[in-house]
């Protein structure tokens, strides 16, 4: 009897452990660790869809043009999904209910929002469900800090990426597709149109918007994407030369346009550049009025240096740039700055020859001293060995 009881317990234990293992294996199977969050959601969606309507059910109504809803604010809220756009978007295989989680029945629950903006602000956090990395990056951005401070105009996910029309913008390796690059400034222009108007007239913006040149920087190359920082901070100012240098010291890009790549080292070698570089290294938050690249060359309005109206190659333009910080500067003052030239017999010859002089003078003097001192040491060692008293 007692033995039977033990047997029964043992059998039960084996049974429980066995089922547990099977259950674990099953969980592992449906949750492959390697899958990206986005794929995982789609997989889960497929399984979870049994009880939810699929997209064709939603598009049956919402595919019709002109569906709008007037919100209490008086604004219309478009309820139409252009199925041709949606069908070619990055989200074509995502279920509507994946984002519109509160809508699974008909008639739909009442819309509680007052305005279009409120609707977007309530919806965008759902993006983190699949795009956690990008979403988390935005939390650090200047836009999110504005949102947190109550500025509802600041950009949220859906302002840049319309979830119903967002095309695929990256290749298999995560690199940005050329066409996507070309469209970046248009996206930022939705809120920053004044800056865009300036940018498109700049040497970079004109090349991008008129020639489709993807070598030039778009907004995100300087400002970043998702974790866009505040460009008015001291830290941004101090590290900005490195930002420009990213392309301007890259011979592969610069050689195409005959632009020298020694712009950073010549800047760092001079008073201004030395100071800002050391600030950046030692006290990155330092307030400074020492010029960085954009103080002379412009920010969004960067022009070619040989631009007849604004170019810094024009001495009068350079003088004006100097006088912004050195109001008393005279016409020969701008030559105190070697305009990114490395001294040579044709450019800044005096500096070149001073350098040459010391290049030979220092080894000559120190070398002669060294020879004499060495001869003296040797002589004294010999004398000491011979026991002669030095004199």
């Amino acid at each position: 009897m007692r033995r039977d009881k033990i047997n029964l317990r043992l059998k039960l234990l084996i049974l429980i452990v066995g089922f547990g293992l099977i259950a674990l294996a099953f969980i592992e199977m449906i949750n492959p660790v390697s899958a990206s969050p986005a794929t995982k959601i789609i997989q889960n969606t497929v399984q979870a869809q049994t009880g939810d309507p699929d997209n064709s059910a939603c598009l049956f109504c919402h595919g019709k043009p002109g569906m709008t809803r007037t919100l209490p604010s008086g604004e219309p809220l478009s309820l139409t999904i252009d199925s041709s756009h949606f069908g070619s978007s990055a989200h074509k295989s995502v279920a509507c209910v994946e984002c519109h989680t509160n809508i699974s029945t008909f008639p739909h629950p009442d819309l509680q929002v007052q305005s279009q903006r409120q609707f977007s602000l309530e919806m965008y956090t759902i993006c983190q469900k699949c795009h956690e990395d990008q979403y988390n990056k935005t939390l650090d951005s200047v836009h999110m800090r504005q949102v947190a401070a109550g500025n509802t105009n600041a950009a949220i996910c859906t302002d840049c990426h319309n979830p119903h029309t967002q095309p695929v913008i990256t290749d298999a390796n995560g690199g940005l597709l050329p066409n996507a690059r070309l469209s970046i400034p248009d996206i930022c222009a939705r809120c920053h149109s004044a800056i865009y108007d300036t940018y498109k007239k700049s040497v970079h913006g004109a090349a991008l918007t008129q020639e489709g040149n993807t070598d030039v920087p778009t907004c995100i190359d300087c400002h970043g994407v998702h974790n866009i920082g505040d460009p008015t901070t001291n830290a941004f100012r101090l590290q900005s030369p490195q930002l420009c240098a990213k392309c301007h010291t890259n011979a592969a890009i610069m050689n195409k346009y005959g632009i020298p790549t020694q712009v950073l080292n010549t800047y760092v070698a001079d008073f201004h550049g030395t100071t800002t570089t050391l600030f950046e290294k030692i006290t990155p938050d330092q307030v400074t009025n020492k010029p960085v690249c954009f103080d002379c060359h412009g920010v969004h309005d960067i022009k070619k240096v040989d631009d007849p109206v604004y170019g810094l190659q024009m001495k009068t333009n350079l003088l004006k740039a100097c006088q912004r910080c050195h109001p008393d500067a005279s016409t020969s003052f701008p030559d105190a700055w070697m305009s990114h030239y490395i001294p040579s017999p044709t450019h800044y010859a005096l500096v070149y020859y001073v350098n040459i002089f010391y290049k030979f003078f220092i080894p000559t003097v120190i070398g002669s001293m060294g020879i004499f001192v060495t001869s003296d040491i040797v002589r004294r060692l010999i004398e000491r060995r011979k026991g002669v008293k030095h004199g």
Binding site: P107, T275, F279, V287, D335, F372
Partner: protein, 398 residues
Amino acid sequence: MSKKAIMQQPDATKEPVHKFERFHWTQRVEHAILLTSFSLLGITGLPQKFSTSGWAQGLIGFFGGIETTRLIHHVCAVVMIVLGIYHILDIGYKIFVRRTRLSMLPGLQDVKDAFQAFLFNLGLGKKRPQMGRYTFEEKAEYWALIWGTAIMAVTGFIMWNPIITARFLPGEIIPASKAAHGGEALLAVMAIVVWHMYGVHLKRFNKAMFTGKQTETEMLHEHPLELADIKAGIAERPVDPKTLRKRQVVYFPVAGVLAVAMLFGTYGFISGEKTSITTVLPISNPVTIYVPQTPTPIPTVSVPVVPSGTLSWDANIGIIFQAKCDLCHNASLPTKGLSFATYVEAMLGASDGPVIRPGDAANSKLVILQSAGGHPGQLSPDELTAVKIWINAGALEK
């Protein structure tokens, strides 16, 4: 050397316990100030010349950043300039008042001495040169210091006052001065390490600059000619008090005026110009950050013109229902059993009864619902008015 030293000179038979005064205490203080300011100038200056290397950045960080490093450099530069002014006046006193021998002046003999010393070291000469109060090594160092300080002061002034400089000279002189200042600095520091360190610290630790005194043995080895002069009593040129006072009466006012002029020049050096503005400039061409583009208007279906004249389902009312209600209330999706696909279906109403009561708009469910507002397919006020008139007129099909 002082007379006292000569008088106290011990008997030749005894061991020379007596020490000769080599440097007056004022000279030793001068040396201490020079030593301090020179070292600080070097240690704060060279990292600026090699600012891209790690050791330089480490040192600058140690000093509290580039601005503090420059401040230390500037303060030491001023100390050295003031020391230079004192030195000029002191030399002037020795030349014009005391009329001592100009023992520091270089001459052909120094070249010969240097050559002889070198040949001796190479084993090509019989003996070391016999030298006086200042050896050729010491003279070389002194005059290198004088020359170097002059170059550093001039190039330093140019860098400190670039705007004043550019008013009189081409702007290029400023980067050229920077190059010369750096080159000369490197030369000076290396010369101190090779020449001075060896000559007075390694060869034999020469404490004369700190104690001010040398023994007779030391004198005999290093400055035999001076020792001979001292013993012969011709090292000094004593001045009688009366003449001394007469010369002092002339020299002190002149030196005073010179001192004031030079100190005033130093003041100009420091405060000659405010090189640049001290406030932080706003970014050029500021732009407004938030300037939203006008959003693309949401596409809407063309709203039928509010009917006028005779109202009937076929003529005008049916089109309104097609446009606004058909989406959810159509033949294949008759939400709540209601469809507006045809007149008949519309009049049949929803599963819980008709929504249009011909002749009684006020009690028609459609009008009640639409008047409350907020229905997904909301009729415009004009459309609703037309529908009410149509219902009150009997909700006719044709």
